[in-house]
Structures are given as C-alpha cells and as structure tokens.
Symmetry: C2
Subunit: 348 residues, 2 copies
C-alpha cells in the first residue's frame, strides 16, 4: 500500500498534493460567471481553512471567468470539467491551477490527450475524477458498478496520460456508497503511487452527509491513505471546510487550534454541562491557541479520563473542580466555570 | 480477526448482542432516581430507535429505582457502575438487564468476582467497559496509556470472570483518541470472540462528537467489527440515536426507512437544491418506506450518478427532470419538485 508520505507530489499552484500532509478542498456553489460572488465565496472558504477551491466550468464564459477570479483570490483554483474537453483547454489558458476531468464523460481518447498536452505545457496537474455513476461503458460492462471498476477506469486513464508522458496526476474514486468508496481507494493505493483526492460523493445533507463523509474519509485517513480531501455536503460549502477540519483533527492530522473534549452528560452530572461545553467550544473557536480543553460532567469522567487535556473542569453539585494536566488545581462555583476556563487559557 | 457474525451471542433482556447484527445504545442524562423523567427519556430514545438504554447508578437509591423504571419501559436497561461493586449487586436484584463495570475503578479482584456470581445467577451479561483514563495502575505502568494497555486490561478482567465460570461478556475499549480507539478494537478482535460494544469516549459536542464517533465507529463497522454501538455526544441523547442510525445506514447495516442521496450543489445548479434536499429529507423522515431518493443539482450528477436510486430529480433551469431507477420519466417545474417526489413515493 502506498501511504501518503510516499505518494508522488504534484503542485496546484503553491499547494503540494502528495508526499505527506493532507490539504482541504471545497467547491463553490456560485455561478462561476458571477466573478464577484464566486471570488467572495472563495475568500470566505479560504478564511475558514480551505486550501484549494474548485469551480464548475460548464461553458466558455465560465472558463474565461477564471482569469478574473484568479486576480481577486489567492488559493489555487481547480476547473471542474464534464463532457467538453475544450473547456479544459480554455481554463488552462485562463490560469486554472489544476484541471479535474471525469474520464467517463469526456469523450474519446484524443480528448484526454489534448488536455494532457495543454496541462503539461504549463505544469498543471490533472485529477482523474472517477465517479461511480459516470464510468466508461466498457469498464461497467466488464466490471459492473464496483470498486474494482472505478479502479480500472482510473488506471486506464492514467495509462492514457502516461502515453502522453504526463505524470502530474491526482486520482479520485467516488461513490455514494461509503463501503465501495473505501474499498476502491484501498485497492488503488496498492496499484499506484499517485496522490489521492478522497471523498464520498452525493453524501447528502448536513447531518447524513457529514456522517457518511466522516466515515469514508476518516477510515482512509486512519489507514494512511489520502492526500487531499473534499467533504461533499448539500449545504453551504463553509460547512464542508468546517467538517474537513474536524475530520483532520479527529484523525490526528491537524493540530492547530483549540480542541474540546467533553463527555456525554449522564445521571451523575449535576451541572448544565451541555450548555457549558457548547459555550466553551464557541469561545475557543475565537482563540488562536493550541490547547486541549476538557469539560466533564462529573468526577468519574474527570481528571483521570481527561488527564491528557491541558486544562479542564469536572462538575460537582453546584460547583466544579478545575484541573490542569490531570492535577486538581482548585474548586470553583458552577457560575464561574466558563469565565475561569477562558481566563486560565488566555493566561497560558 | 473475529468478525461480528462469529462473536459469542449474549442477551441483554431480549436483545441479542453478538453473533451478527448491530444494536443501538444510548445513555440517559436524567437523574436515575427521578423515575418518571428517566422512564420518559428511555421511551423517547426507544421511539427514535434506541434498543438498549444505560443508566448511571451512583448510589443505592438509583439502584433501587431500576425496579420502578423497568415497569414503565420496554427496552433492556443497563446499570452503569463505577467505584462501588455493591451497587452492581443491588441493580441485579432490582432487575437490570446488563451490568457495565469499569474494571479500573471497581477495586479489588474479589469485587469483580462477586458481581460475576450475582449476574450468573440471573443470566445477566457484564460489559467490561475499559476507558483509557481509568485503567488499573499496573496495566498503565507496564503498557502506558496505549491501545495495547486497554486490550490487556480487558483481557485481565475477562480472565477474572472466566475464573468464575462467567462467559456472558461484552467488551468495550474507549479512548478519546479515535485512532487509539480503532487500534484497540482491531487488536482485541484478534484475541477474543466476545461481542464488542464500540464507541469513542468524550468525543465532544454535537458537531465534533458526531465526526469523531462516525470515524471511529464507522471504520470498525466497515471492518466487520462491532456488535453494539453507542455514539457519545455532549448533547441530547436523542441525537446519539439519530447519529447511530445514520452511521449504521452509511455502513450498510441498516436498511429500513428512506435514504436521501444528494450532491453538493455547484456552479451548474440552477435550482434551490439545498432547500429542496432538506425539505425532502424532512418529509421522508415521516414516511415509513424503504426507498432511496436522489435530489441532484444538475444533469451531470443526474440520472447516471443516481441510477441506483428508486426515484430522483436532477435540476435544470427553473425545472427538473424526474427519473426512476436512472430512467427519465418526465420534466417538471421547479416549484413542483417536492410535491411530485413525495406523491410519487407515496404511490410506490
């Protein structure tokens, strides 16, 4: 299995994909032709932590908009191309930092080759973006709609690009089934060393989409697979970036910022722990500090369970104990919990 | 590795844990002594899909409340015991269907043995609930705070119970680190065939907790590991059950009910897809029908991508196409999308 440390690095603008590290992507849901609106959304996504933004390009005007959007933004921009390879060529001319093509719907072999030539001339990587629902007919005929089929489709297209001496490739293999998606990425990681863009497609609305994406992306990241991630949600793309950051943090791949650990409250808890945990989390979001904070309902889940937290509280009856690195510091009143925690963190 | 089909079944009341299938657990956050409030919460959780409810038992009054709560509820009830093994004995007398002990904080060996004897006399299973933060001191000294340590702690306690000829065991190995949690369960599944209760502990508030739990529980379920799950959230326990159902559905382990697949909208989308997807999802929650519904922003992610959906729409400009099993049925106006989908589903 080729783990992320050993994948071949490619560059979308200044962002390295492959060879270690995991970058966060999202995709605009604005009309690409609306330059101001699209640039504004890209900058909002970037401010939230998005490192690469993808734009739908469905006509020549959208391709031409790339040049203007580029001037108003600072993160790499990927052109998402379906059906018409000529739009890819136009995007390359207009400053796209990476091209995504869906090989199953881009037409004949020579189309892929022309895109490869254009990208090679400007050192732009290509993502072969295989989707379960739009693979080459021959592949589906031979392998069915399976993880194996997505892998074979990707490898066929890698072959086409390689024929053209093109090697700056990123691969994605997305299905709406989490299991099939995970299986496909595990399979391909044993076959090639190209960086992998991972995600679950058509994963649904905020709640179910976050869960499907977390499982699929998270399981692969824990395996050491995946160089760049995109959480697909039928929601504001800002939510995709937030979820992506949480997934990276949960899998130990993002260490910056504050982390809150909190137990589910239970019958032992005598403080309003759900409210306190949410308010502390909200306040931590505004503090740019690498700190692990615990908000525990009672002593059972107190200092012992949270001994690797930098600071925390464990609820008592109308009070709480404040602890640091598992050691009790002092007792405080319930009404002082939030202020005390935030002051102590501020002083750290 | 012992997969869930091959774990040894035990019974918490009428609910089988082990030997195939995955049940959903949650835990009340009411004061157990408040019988009415606790029974009401249990019944709400059960109505949402919870199959086993756990109650904190921190004093004799809470243990005695079990008998009354039992009469007002119908799903198996688990007594959660820390520190005092005598509370476990009292819960067994008062009708608990399963006992959870945390071996690290229950005191000497003879305490565990007494609980085993009491449970054996009434055919009640015991969960050895190891938590990273409260393992036996000797185990931590020897193995550190590692996945291996949690496994060794569990195996030591399995040994104690086995000495007592007690074999109706469930094991959990929870850490607040997703990776350590997953590693621990993978390790123990190679060592014993007891059913596993899986979850990530102190996973945090609704957003981050759902993500951590989805990754940890989801990755293991995809491996074939896990017989019963509990999503821990610092939130209303109803949210734990909702998340658990979504995790089971996403991993192909729950097939009942309607499933919505929807693409993230992008620059190609000309309909208000986020709103439509959310409204359709909400309406589907009230329909008791096994149906897969797709709400797609455009034809790129349309019938092809969603060909395994029973029914769906793909947005156009002020309109949409209605499709069934990937075949286009007819064109409809945007304002008719929700009503048409729900009527067609109702007629199915």
């Amino acid at each position: 299995m080729c783990k992320r440390e050993n994948t071949k690095p490619v560059y979308a603008g200044k962002v390295k994909i492959g060879g270690g590290g995991v970058s966060i992507q999202s995709m605009c849901n604005t009309d690409t032709i609306d330059v101001d609106k699209t640039a504004r959304q890209i900058n909002q996504l970037a401010a939230e932590g998005c490192e690469i933004a993808r734009l739908a390009v469905n006509n020549a005007d959208a391709a031409k908009a790339f040049a203007e959007i580029r001037k108003k933004t600072h993160i790499p921009l990927v052109a998402d191309i379906h059906f018409d390879y000529r739009l890819a060529l136009l995007c390359v001319e207009n400053g796209a930092d990476k091209i995504r093509i869906n090989p199953g719907n881009i037409g004949e072999k020579s189309n892929v080759l022309q895109v490869a030539k254009a990208c090679k001339s400007r050192n732009i990587p290509i993502r072969i973006g295989v989707n379960m629902g739009s693979m080459e007919a021959e592949v589906v005929k031979r392998f069915g709609k399976t993880a194996q089929a997505m892998v074979e489709s990707a490898l066929y297209n890698v072959g086409l690009l390689n024929e053209c001496d093109f090697d700056d490739i990123v691969i994605s293999l997305k299905a709406s089934s989490v299991k099939v998606t995970v299986d496909a990425y595990r399979l391909i990681s044993k076959r090639v060393g190209y960086p992998l863009h991972i995600g679950v497609t058509e994963s649904g609305t905020l709640h179910s989409g976050m869960i499907k994406s977390s499982i699929g992306i998270g399981a692969l990241l824990l395996d050491g697979i995946g160089d760049t991630i995109r959480v697909s949600l039928t929601a504001d793309p800002i939510e995709e970036v937030r979820a992506a950051k949480s997934i990276l943090r949960a899998t130990g791949l993002l260490h910056s910022g504050a982390e809150l650990i909190s137990c589910p409250s239970c019958g032992r808890c005598k403080i309003d722990q759900i409210k306190i945990a949410n308010e502390v989390e909200k306040a931590l979001g505004k503090i740019n500090k690498n700190v692990k904070v615990a908000v525990m309902g009672c002593v059972v889940n107190g200092p012992g369970e949270a001994s690797d937290a930098d600071i925390g509280i464990a609820g008592g009856d109308g009070c709480a104990i404040l602890f640091k690195k598992g050691k009790i510091v002092r007792k405080i009143k319930e009404c002082e919990i939030i202020d005390t925690l935030l002051k102590e963190i501020g002083d750290m």
